[in-house]
């Protein structure tokens, strides 16, 4: 997959775990020598580092050399309550009684990906990675506030800095979570590429872990004939993911 600039890629999963896509994009952009800001709200740094090492990247070294800016949500959320903050903390909304907006988090992202000219190695296009946005709704943020945060990140990262964004949102499917549905659909309309990992309708399978639906949106030029959607099935292995056409798993052929 080529890294086009100024694009928003939406990852979503329904009835399965789509985090393998997050790990893929994290290692992909680090290997591509991009400056990455990773807002990790779900897992610890060590978790992503362990998986990253299987995919050939060392997050510790990337962070030390300034290529990776890592916001560890699990750890930072404790700092919000137990450490005095001179400036608004990126997760400041956790302290506020009324869920406001995510401007502090946006300021953090903007500062992290701001180009610096102090003799450091020049990185390629900046990338913002968020895992995941649905948890912000669970933490009390309104859906419009989350959409506004992504809007401003798109302005800063995609439009101003010509970088890319990759965000993960879970699809609540049967749970009828209205706010999550609005978030998912709202981001879908803003996205250039949607990767949707779905569990198999027939249930769990040892050799086919799910299917991935790829939907291209917002082509720069409208075309009459264009492949808009593709669907593959996949199997997650220890250090890679294998894709194949539906029904063409090597295990069943």
């Amino acid at each position: 997959m080529s890294a086009e600039a100024g694009k928003l890629t939406l990852l979503c999963d329904v009835k399965t775990d789509g985090s393998f896509l997050v790990h893929h994009f994290l290692s992909f952009y680090l290997k591509a020598n991009c400056k990455v800001c990773f807002v990790a709200l779900i897992q610890s740094f060590s978790h992503y580092n362990i998986v990253g090492q299987k995919l050939g990247v060392n997050l510790t070294m990337a962070r030390e050399r300034g290529q990776l800016v890592f916001l560890e949500g699990l750890k930072s959320s404790v700092d919000v309550f137990f450490q005095a903050q001179k400036e608004p903390h990126p997760l400041q909304f956790l302290r506020e009684a009324n869920a406001g907006n995510l401007q502090p988090l946006y300021e953090f992202v903007r500062e992290a990906l701001k180009p610096v000219n102090n003799g450091e190695a020049a990185w390629r296009c900046p990338v913002l990675l968020v895992d995941d946005l649905s948890v912000l709704l669970s933490l009390g943020m309104g859906v419009v506030a989350v959409l506004d945060f992504i809007h401003y990140c798109r302005v800063a990262v995609c439009w101003e800095l010509k970088g890319n964004m990759v965000v993960l949102v879970h699809d609540s499917d049967d749970a009828e979570d209205e706010e999550n549905d609005i978030l998912l659909n709202g981001l879908s309309h803003q996205s250039h590429l949607i990767l949707r990992a779905e569990g198999l309708a027939t249930g769990f399978c040892r050799d086919v872990h799910g299917q991935l639906r790829i939907l291209w949106r917002r082509p720069s030029q409208p075309t009459a004939q264009r492949d808009r959607s593709l669907t593959y099935q996949y199997k997650i292995q220890d250090k890679s993911v294998s894709f194949f056409a539906k029904g063409m798993s090597p295990a069943v052929l």
Partner: protein
């Protein structure tokens, strides 16, 4: 579909994740601009560069752009934000003084609906789309057309119905026979609502290519917002009848239907006395008693 540009008022372009509507919006904008109209664009979701991409200079020169994309909520505090935010931008469009036919494009109404109260937005849209009425003014009536892009998955039935009530035309984008199609529902004053489906494609220069579509539907949709539901779908039993079954059903005589044959069977014989059919048991008993009395006397 080009008739959309012939009338004023609010035109809702309802799109979905599967079938985006911005390309059609840009195609209609291009058409209006090439007709010599001034086109005002309130853009909330994409940058000005991205929106103007694909338009040639003839079109771009006629676009008046209101940028709500860069800093809609004034987070940057650089003074670049539109004064008054989204509502200020809408009011600025209302106050424009250009004459002649005008097209106002809102990209998107969904963004505005998420950030403004629905009632306020509807009032502003009503004011925008009704600016062709100039009471007390002897100048020719200006035609104002408002094109609003609406992502229908983002809103509940209440706001959608409110916007539909304001719109003269609703265009719902979907797919028909593998081709992009527009289901157009027109509701003009003092006219019957019309409904048509038009296949189309948008060329790389945002020209609109209309194609031969499916035959006009014989019955207009009563509610264009909800797709027709087949009640026969997903049933575990068969509701339909074969011809043979239908004939047997039609020829069946129901027990509560009286026929001459049944009437004759209902007559009972009491000592060679035939009693007529009565509508109530009491009448029957009275007649029996009367007969018995007559026989004993």
């Amino acid at each position: 579909m080009l008739d959309l540009l012939a009338v004023g008022g609010l035109v809702l372009l309802r799109d979905s994740v599967e079938w985006e509507g911005r390309s059609l919006l840009k195609a209609l904008i291009k058409k209006s601009a090439l007709c010599g109209e001034q086109v005002h664009i309130l853009s909330c979701e994409v940058s000005e560069e991205e929106f103007r991409e694909g338009f040639d200079s003839d079109v771009n020169n006629r676009l008046v752009y209101y940028d709500l994309f860069r800093d809609p909520l004034n987070w940057s505090k650089t003074g670049e934000a539109f004064p008054g935010g989204p509502l200020g931008a809408l009011r600025a469009i209302c106050k424009r003084t250009d004459s002649g036919p005008v097209t106002i494009a809102l990209d998107s109404l969904s963004w505005l609906l998420l950030h403004l109260p629905c009632t306020m937005l509807c009032q502003t849209l009503h004011a925008l789309s009704r600016q062709d009425v100039c009471p007390g003014d002897s100048s020719p009536v200006r035609q104002v057309r408002v094109l609003g892009l609406l992502h229908e998955e983002l809103h509940g039935p209440g706001p959608m119905a409110a916007l539909s009530s304001l719109a003269q035309t609703e265009v719902t984008l979907s797919c028909t026979m593998g081709q992009a199609s527009a289901h157009i529902h027109c509701q003009r004053p003092r006219q019957r609502p019309t409904h048509q489906t038009q296949l189309f494609s948008i060329l790389p220069d945002f020209s609109l290519d209309l194609q031969e579509g499916p035959p006009p539907e014989s019955q207009p949709h009563l509610d264009p917002h909800t797709p027709p539901v087949d009640p026969m779908a997903h049933l575990t039993f068969n509701l339909r009848l074969s011809n043979k079954e239908r004939e047997a059903k039609d020829s069946l005589t129901l027990p509560f239907q009286f026929s001459s044959e049944k009437n004759s069977r209902l007559y009972c014989t009491l000592g060679q006395v035939r009693l007529p059919v009565t509508s109530s048991m009491s009448q029957m008993l009275m007649m029996t008693w009367t007969k018995k009395t007559q026989m004993t006397t």
